[in-house]
């Protein structure tokens, strides 16, 4: 029984997804010491942007939401008998998966008692940052070219 035509998750979902991406990008770049350097944190109401502990916590909250939204979409996708992904959709999915995987390593390393080798952490840290930039480029290009996640039809 199809009730999500072309698996349309709805406007609210898309807004939430967009908000999470924006939030993750803003707080993610805030993990680099650039907001203080480039005076963003001196703007009214943005002093918190240079508080690393605060932006880190926000980043993890947005990550929670994004993971929940992603799993929501995956479950619906299965229920909808796995409509085919477009190439643009597949590309974004792969990059996001890389961001999630490196992100999970970064979360686990913050737990006392979890040890990863320095090389694993280097790959996770630089990979997370690098893939985030690649993802931004990917969504900018796919948005400009109006490429949906799923194949038409």
């Amino acid at each position: 029984m199809r009730f999500h035509k072309q698996m349309n998750l709805g406007r609210i979902y898309k807004w939430l997804w967009g908000l999470c991406i924006l939030g993750l990008v803003f707080t993610g770049f805030g993990q680099l010491p650039i907001y203080s350097r480039y005076k963003l944190s001196t703007l009214p109401g943005l002093k918190w942007s240079a508080d690393f502990y605060f932006t880190h916590a926000l980043h993890e909250i947005f990550a929670f939401l994004l993971i929940a939204l992603a799993v929501y979409a995956i479950v619906i996708w299965f229920f909808e008998r796995r409509p085919a992904l477009s190439k643009a959709g597949f590309l974004r999915l792969v990059i996001l998966a890389g961001i999630f995987a490196t992100g999970i390593v970064r979360v686990l390393k913050n737990f006392a008692g979890f040890y990863f080798s320095p090389n694993t952490l280097l790959v996770a840290d630089i990979g997370h940052l690098g893939l985030a930039v690649v993802f931004l480029l990917a969504i900018a290009i796919t948005a400009a070219l109006s490429k949906p996640w799923l194949k038409a039809g």
Binding site: P33, I67, V71, A73, P118, D125
Partner: protein, 331 residues
């Protein structure tokens, strides 16, 4: 990581020089550094090493400070001048200690250990206490956890090290460190090869607990050289017991066992650390402090645990949506 390693002569040079210099200064009981116990602290793989510093017995001779500077000299930054201009100039400060390498009265990129000295009274007794200060080597170090490039990392023996070839010099590690330990030198490091005007500002340096010496079964320089043998190193559990035993002798106090969620550095004092901290500030001693420190990674750990529930939350929401729509289509 480092191109050269110190020669064996460097260590025995320090021993000889210090013996001659300090023999007159310290009272009897000066042990020859060369005969200090070696490698009695070897810990099983994966077990963290901790150090105990008995500040009740520190005589403030400074041998540890000098030994640290000598033995780690090959790791010190060698900046090229002039430094590239960094923008915006009013927000990015040059931190240049290269003309002040001899400063040993505070932490600098060229001085990773220094002595604080305080004059205090406690329970009617006067104390002149010397406190060797350096990185605490936290069990869950925020510097290593939060470095965006993975330059600061914690080794499996508990030592926190900043990799000078990866560090971009943003000094986030210093900002998030409860004791503000790492010290920056502008004009060295990877940032010079990327876009020095717009990103980065040198490399951060701090005590690395002579991790390279420990790898070879040797003691950290400051521990080996100490004429009073006030420092001990070994597996964390054993060192905590040692710290408690020394504290019991003094009817004293420990700092570093629980601060910031637990560190691998235990200071033992006959005087409470709140009293010492107050004295540090009143007597204008250089940072760092000796304040109580809550676990700075606690919120992150809790949010991280919550993240593990995120897939469940998404799945449940999807299940509810599907169920709702199915019910609607049946009605």
């Amino acid at each position: 990581m480092f191109k050269n390693t110190p020669s064996e002569e460097a260590m025995s040079d320090i021993s000889r020089r210090n013996f001659l210099k300090k023999a007159a200064a310290s009272a009897g009981g000066l042990a020859l550094a060369a005969s200090a116990p070696r490698a009695a602290f070897a810990s099983p793989k994966g077990a963290e090493l901790a150090t105990v510093l008995d500040i009740g017995r520190c005589i403030g001779c400074g041998a540890c400070v000098e030994a640290c500077r000598t033995i780690n000299n090959f790791k010190f930054p060698k900046p090229q001048k002039p430094f590239p201009v960094m923008s915006p100039q009013d927000r990015v400060k040059v931190e240049d200690w290269s003309e002040k390498q001899n400063v040993d009265s505070r932490l600098t990129p060229y001085n990773w250990l220094f002595l604080q000295t305080v004059d205090v009274s406690y329970k009617g007794q006067d104390y002149l206490l010397n406190i060797p200060r350096r990185c605490m080597h936290c069990q869950n170090p925020p510097c290593a956890n939060l470095c965006p490039f993975g330059a600061a990392r914690k080794l499996d023996n508990g030592i926190t090290v900043i990799h000078p070839e990866i560090c971009f010099g943003g000094a986030k590690c210093r900002d998030v460190c409860p004791w503000k330990i790492p010290q920056r030198q502008t004009g060295v490091g990877l940032y010079l090869k990327v876009m020095p005007r717009f990103g980065g500002n040198g490399v951060l340096f701090k005590c690395d607990r002579c991790f390279d010496r420990i790898e070879k079964g040797k003691l950290p320089a400051c521990i080996e050289i100490c004429p009073e043998q006030i420092q001990h190193i070994g597996p964390r559990e054993a060192m905590l017991e040692k710290a408690k035993a020394i504290a019991k002798e003094y009817d004293g106090f420990i700092y570093g066992d629980t601060q910031n969620g637990g560190t691998n550095t235990f200071y033992v004092s006959p005087v409470p650390f709140e009293v010492l901290d107050r004295a540090l500030k009143e007597q204008a001693q250089p940072a760092p402090h000796l304040e109580p420190v809550e676990n700075s990674m606690a919120l992150s750990e809790n949010l991280g645990k919550a993240l593990l529930l995120a897939p469940l939350a998404g799945a449940l929401a999807a299940g509810a949506s599907i169920a709702g729509k199915l019910k609607k289509s049946q009605d």
